[in-house]
Symmetry: C2
Subunit: 425 residues, 2 copies
């Protein structure tokens, strides 16, 4: 029936998928907490205005924006940063560093495709008020640790670059317009080399500089290869402060046990507000879009309140993560939960069963009761089909002896237990 259609690009989650999703979210929360980040939350609707501060028209074309009943131009939030920024600048009393995380729902009106729905959750992490190698590393390491705890260790690579370093390189090789050159590089893996070359030439990068730069862009570099790569491009950057900082970030991440980290000159992230390190995580086989991405954006807060606040953060969407976990066979959660299906026989048996049911629940055990009039054998079949691990039977004998029969529905084993010993379950 057309009247009960779900909208295109949106997804329902049934219990079989929710179990995994809740596990993922709880790992995100726990990992963020272990790293000293605290939870926040903000509305799902904001004035469209606040996205104009940092984003171009491209984003605005893709928002679920509308006029509300008071004729204000509002939008479902398409990203997390502006709301977080708004919350940050509204409170002058916060002790720095401010370390926040959230898992908001975000909406974008764009053509649905694999790893991109019109609605998704994003694990969003921001570290405000401090700078330095170790601060950047904290944020990247949190993204890595989250993936490791999800079972993805050694299945992903983090590509790192530094905007300042990139700007120096571009200036040295003749770029006449840094932001525009950054935009060209942002498309490096999406367009042909010829097209990229042509565009960079138009930026003022030519001859041997262009050839060397294209070669430099065309691969990524583990720690062991960076010096050689920078030596080869020949711009005398080996002693540059930004180069050394980028290098020691790579080293530090590596030292902390997150080894799949590389310098990738073509990772620049399109958005104009990044001011230092930028990074993206990808599955090793390159099958999916980026798993997470982020960077340092020290100047953004000044657009909100006139004062700069050091800031570094990342976002990790749930859609690519779900695709990757499914692909790796890590989506199904093995059901190891102990759960009880309580079956009472006869009027008295049912009454006693009802009491036991609530005793179990107050002991924080998962329990349901047979509420239909099936016979015992069908009740047991039903309990199995509903994935209960145990049945508890209260028949005439059990009533008389103040006991219950506990049946393991997997092994078939059963035993009697006195009601006084219910806590032994």
């Amino acid at each position: 029936m057309s009247k009960i259609e779900k909208l295109r690009g949106f997804k329902d989650y049934y219990p079989e998928d929710m179990q995994k999703r809740e596990q993922i979210f709880s790992i995100m929360r726990e990992t963020a907490r272990n790293f000293g980040f605290l939870p926040i939350d903000y509305p799902s609707i904001e004035l469209l205005e606040i996205y104009k501060i940092k984003s171009g028209d491209e984003l605005l074309k893709q928002t679920y924006n509308f006029r509300d009943k008071s004729n204000r131009e509002v939008t479902l939030i398409p990203e997390a940063t502006p709301s977080t920024m708004r919350m940050l600048v509204a409170r002058k009393d916060l002790i720095k560093p401010v370390k926040w995380y959230n898992i908001p729902k975000l909406w974008r009106y764009e053509e649905p495709q694999s790893g991109r729905n019109r609605e998704h959750y994003q694990f969003n992490v921001d570290y405000f008020g401090e700078t330095g190698v170790e601060v950047d590393v904290e944020v990247i390491a949190l993204a890595c640790e989250t993936l490791d705890r999800l079972g993805l260790k050694n299945m992903y690579t983090v590509r790192i670059n530094d905007r300042n370093l990139m700007e120096k390189i571009l200036t040295k090789i003749g770029s006449q317009n840094i932001p525009s050159s950054i935009s060209v590089i942002d498309h490096f893996r999406k367009e042909s080399v010829e097209s990229i070359k042509e565009k960079l030439a138009r930026e003022g990068i030519n001859g041997e500089n262009l050839e060397k730069f294209i070669e430099f862009l065309s691969r990524s570099y583990p720690l062991s290869d960076i010096d050689e790569a920078f030596d080869k491009i020949g711009l005398e950057l080996l002693n540059d402060r930004d180069y050394k900082e980028m290098r020691s970030e790579l080293q530090s991440i590596y030292d902390k046990g997150y080894e799949n980290v590389v310098y990738d000159p073509s990772t620049v992230r399109g958005l104009s507000y990044y001011t230092g390190i930028v990074f993206e995580g990808f599955d090793n086989e390159g099958k999916f879009r980026s798993i997470f991405g982020g960077g340092r954006y020290d100047r953004l807060s000044s657009l909100f309140e006139g004062q700069e606040t050091p800031a570094v953060g990342f976002g990790m969407g749930d859609a690519v993560l779900e695709n990757l976990l499914r692909e790796k066979g890590l989506w199904q959660v093995e059901n190891t939960e102990v759960s009880y299906f309580v079956i009472g026989m006869g009027k008295e048996g049912k009454k006693r069963a009802g009491n036991i049911l609530y005793d179990l629940r107050r002991m924080k055990k998962t329990a349901s009761m047979e509420n239909s009039d099936r016979n015992i054998s069908n009740s047991l079949k039903h309990a199995s089909s509903m994935n209960f691990s145990h049945a508890i039977i209260v028949g005439e004998k059990e009533l008389k002896e103040n006991s219950i029969t506990v049946k393991n529905l997997n092994s078939g084993e059963q035993k009697m237990l006195s009601l006084n010993n219910l806590s032994e379950l």
Copy 2:
């Protein structure tokens, strides 16, 4: 600055409030799970159409509806039931009973007031596919157990009524239009008795019937007083099937340890689709709107797919709950978490501290590191002000001895610990 305004009727949550909110949601999830309910989730946007199935124009006036970029009339979901219903009828393979819960965000465009924002979370629970006293009780008891676990035991009352029973009463006393009379009763506590009387008279209820009915409506009845009340109103309902069912539901809820439950004839819940039991929970002092509300709605699914499915459920919003918990002094969470602030002195000390930091996190302990250049005494002050429970110091001495100093920031006590024994923390 006007450009960073938050919308009216919406709320930000900072960490000091999020801690409690996450605790509340996790109690909701765990209690639902203990009662055998499984989690689902659905989109935040639906076709406006699906709300026209069950709700009147009143609701539609209060939705955040708009035309999307494909000119479809869509809305932010104002309530949970239609989406849940849509998910239920889309799957024919589900084994009954189907017991689902969710904590979706919902939106209503109405004047913001205490306990009612334009956006809120709602703990939503539905039990499909079975009927009977014990099934209704399961759902009401889950609402009660959730409040009890939130620390609200004995602070709330559940008011119960039965739509079928109410319809019988109304018919017997002369009502000419049952749905319209139900609407009048729904306003019983919100309008003057005179106004209610006038309106009921227009429904065809007059004379002694009207007087007795108003008296009947004007209070609620614990288990011990119900028979007398029904005797007094004199409609020969003491042996009625619906009366007896309502009575045994009250008895059963009471027997399960949720004692603040009363029969309340004026609790009818306005929505037209309820078909049996209806209920609402209120704080005992009557300071707030209802904490939760729900009922049986067996016929609603037939509007979605042509087949009736027994259904009973409730919704519990987070806004009234927050007000009530704050009023009872139950909002602040005592911070008992053990957390470590790791301070390394000198270059080598900082390096060692960085390793310890990540060891702690991998042990799933909450830990952060001093990333600024404060001196040790200021670092310790900072750690206290950030509410860390312990500091870990790595100075020259500790470096030499492969140890750490652990300082309890509350008691001031400190001890040395060998690095090999880090797991003893």
